[in-house]
Subunit: 428 residues, 2 copies
Amino acid sequence: MNDITVPHLTTASSGPFQLFERAILDNKVAIESWFRNAWRETQAPFYASVDLRNAGYKIAPVDTNLFPAGFNNLNQTFESLSIQAIQNAVEHLPESIDKILIIPENHTRNLFYLENVYCLKTLIEKAGFETRIGSLIDDLESPLTIDLPSSNNLTLEPITRQGNRIILNGFDADLILLNNDLATGKPEILEGIEQIVTPPASLGWSSRLKSNHFGYYQQVAQDLAGIIGIDSWFIDPMFRNCGEVDFMKRDGIDCLSKNIDALLTEIKAKYEQHDISCKPFVMVKADAGTYGMGVMTVYDVADITELNRKERTKMATTKEGQKVSKVIIQEGVYTHETWGSETTVAEPVVYMIDHQVVGGFYRVHEKRSSSQNLNAPGMRFEPLAFDDCCNAPDPNSDLDSHQNRFYTYGVIARLALLAAAREISSLN
Amino acid sequence: MNDITVPHLTTASSGPFQLFERAILDNKVAIESWFRNAWRETQAPFYASVDLRNAGYKIAPVDTNLFPAGFNNLNQTFESLSIQAIQNAVEHLPESIDKILIIPENHTRNLFYLENVYCLKTLIEKAGFETRIGSLIDDLESPLTIDLPSSNNLTLEPITRQGNRIILNGFDADLILLNNDLATGKPEILEGIEQIVTPPASLGWSSRLKSNHFGYYQQVAQDLAGIIGIDSWFIDPMFRNCGEVDFMKRDGIDCLSKNIDALLTEIKAKYEQHDISCKPFVMVKADAGTYGMGVMTVYDVADITELNRKERTKMATTKEGQKVSKVIIQEGVYTHETWGSETTVAEPVVYMIDHQVVGGFYRVHEKRSSSQNLNAPGMRFEPLAFDDCCNAPDPNSDLDSHQNRFYTYGVIARLALLAAAREISSLN
């Protein structure tokens, strides 16, 4: 085992706030039983990562990624857990699978991302599948081999369509695994193909709405909170959403202002109810979007109504130049975990394959505050792989012990996973 | 990771002998695909351990235990793998399970065994199930708490029957997990109960025959050998069996002699075919039996015909005084793995839960030779937990690397598991 410790939770001393964490640990059997039954009804996504924020008095998911990158950041000690979970995920598919085609993002210079693809490919191969990488890059005419900093290399191959199948030169896959969030829309080559595509291409960010996901999350959080007897707010970020917003033309800003104001008031009421002396804030994000662009921290309605041109331009576009239209306003959850110095904030990211937690890491940012989005340039990952896999709480240890902390993270992440599973199932 | 290394394989230098190991590594995808399909057809046992013998030129299972002890010997680093596998095993059951009752062996002074039960209980609890220990001990009238060397403790509780259910005081289990091989027969209290009992009580050693298991093993070994293009003998121990043998009265010794002679001749032919310069031997064991009693190494028919009274008495009884009647004569497989000194022989034991390998250890014996049964007083286990979980071969490493060696062990162990699964399925 490596000697990684857990970030320091700056509110750790504030007793009553952590009662919900105790409720989770004390009700482990009831929680696991509830999950078991839930997974009997709804198939989990192939994989997912969930960004969490731990304010000490509250833990909540803030983003659920169905096309997770970052497998290279997980603790390699638990590689076997990912291998086993991949085998389970495939076992749950309706067909017999031997050949898997991974379709990654179109990056060729983001070596960090490509290390993730290499890692994912290796895990799938170790799980016993023939695995190749097919690329959606438009002008890729022949295989492109990229050398990686890890001194491994990755070959991206052009995909072709033969009838209703996606074919790589000499490789007719049984399963197409998307690691591309299809932010620019579902490409024509993937339309109507007969191979299993997972996660479904219709879950790409071009059509998926965060507000839809968090609507499902609210339901599962309320169900779980009912079982363990806590206010669901302790694990659920409140949100509101607005239809069409055009930041450049200032269309829809009224709707936005009203909803921000209402949500700030609701948060304030919750803070008063639970005796929390923090300043309420909300996060304003693209409802369909990813990659941490177009995200804004708002303490006051004026923050939105008085945006300057530069700020409005930033909010108006997201990944690959997509225009933000629908907007989600989400309760801001402070990150009260710090790493090393008190000003280096950390937020946990939990990885799941099938319905199993396989590990996670802390996203750490030296130049951001506790109320800001940490998924931004300057973040670093590598040194903070979880020293545990989140499935083995220790009832004899402190709440603050990393095994128990990580188990709680695993529960909240799986709640978000279940919300995503219901989201996917509603498409069928 | 701890710094455990792999025992030294004394035949490691003899090139062509290890071609079958190369065939296994080179055909990983085909092997895993074959296993995947096999597990779609036949449900794996809840758990099992398999004793292997590695002669360098041949690897074979010599015992498949469906009521495995020794979970406390596994590398704790991979605890999460066992937890995940337990969750899968329960997921594969036809009913929704929350409460699990473990029925262990009737030992109260074998603290080593009881540490195993404690470990198993803890793993199942961590997997999210309420778990208690019910005992078949006849005169147990109230709960008995036993302090363990690990400074944990274990409470054995008397079981009672209510209608068609096994009940512990205040605990109506959904699943009864046997960790008792029922060598003295299926107890009346387990007859006709409506709860799921796994592994099935009819698989206890009172009714199970090794020859039946190895008959199934022969079939799966031949199937796999066909896929990877090797002589199945490289992974399959030949065997013969005799009906009623009474060592005390010398009844049936003729049948035994003839079969030993025939098997020794067959082994000799195989050794000549594959240019192996070892002396053939067979193991004579109780066909229904366990715990390494009543096991004899035989190089020559005279070894059996000239048994003295003491030796005959030893062969005539097995665990808890059961009389040996049916006998299996199995090809002896040398253990050519040594640990530390050249005379300390080691044999791998692989543990599986559901159809996943979750770890293993080396059984090491300082006072036994390479052709003897190592499951005997004087063996030691603890320091040799596998430093790997057997599911992640590395194609870029030597055959002799521990990852690859352990992967091969995992394949052979899973073959034995599949044989056991078919054995169980034939009961239904």
